[in-house]
Symmetry: C2
Subunit: 109 residues, 2 copies
């Protein structure tokens, strides 16, 4: 399962691509993460991570129609691949298992 492992930020990006559901391109993903997690994300971090996830086969990309209201480079849309789906499921499952194994009293500390 090593090949399904996701870094902390990688997982957040992958999930957010899923949430944006067809409207996931660089800047939109960045904005969405910032809004939801109240956490600053640089555009560089965004691009690097997207490309890395694509290279690993967890994301697929395709250029969108080139019809913006007011200038702008064509957007590059991302969507989760089936390997990507496997990865987020695996990650979630693993963490839930650990969490469920925590003794009750530890949680009330």
């Amino acid at each position: 399962m090593e090949h399904l492992r996701l870094g902390e930020f990688e997982e957040i990006v992958l999930l957010t691509v899923g949430i944006l559901d067809g409207n996931a391109y660089g800047v939109a993903i960045k904005d969405e993460i910032e809004a939801r997690l109240k956490r600053e994300v640089s555009i560089g971090a965004m691009q690097t991570t997207l490309r890395r996830l694509e290279k690993k086969g967890f994301l697929e990309s395709q250029h969108g129609d080139t019809q913006p209201n007011r200038g702008g480079r064509p957007k590059l849309y991302f969507r989760i691949s089936s390997a990507g789906m496997q990865a987020i499921h695996y990650t979630r499952q693993t963490r839930n298992d650990l969490w469920n194994a925590l003794p009750q009293w530890v949680l009330n500390t």
Copy 2:
């Protein structure tokens, strides 16, 4: 909340310390992770991560009694600090929120 952020492996280690509940020292934590996640963990990765978590205030350590059955250096026991508890709660919450925001159909892909 940036100061509560945990890396992928850091989170696993922290949770496993909680699971071991008073019996968490380097080698035991390593063995537990390997058994639960079916994932190889080097002893070096283990030590580095434990020290990092301690330095960040998410773990506290103390030497155990020096009475092993058969030789051996005194064990160094770890437990989750209250900042550590906050961190795992925060991380879990954040991920669950994202997960819950995923459109249903994406999950069945």
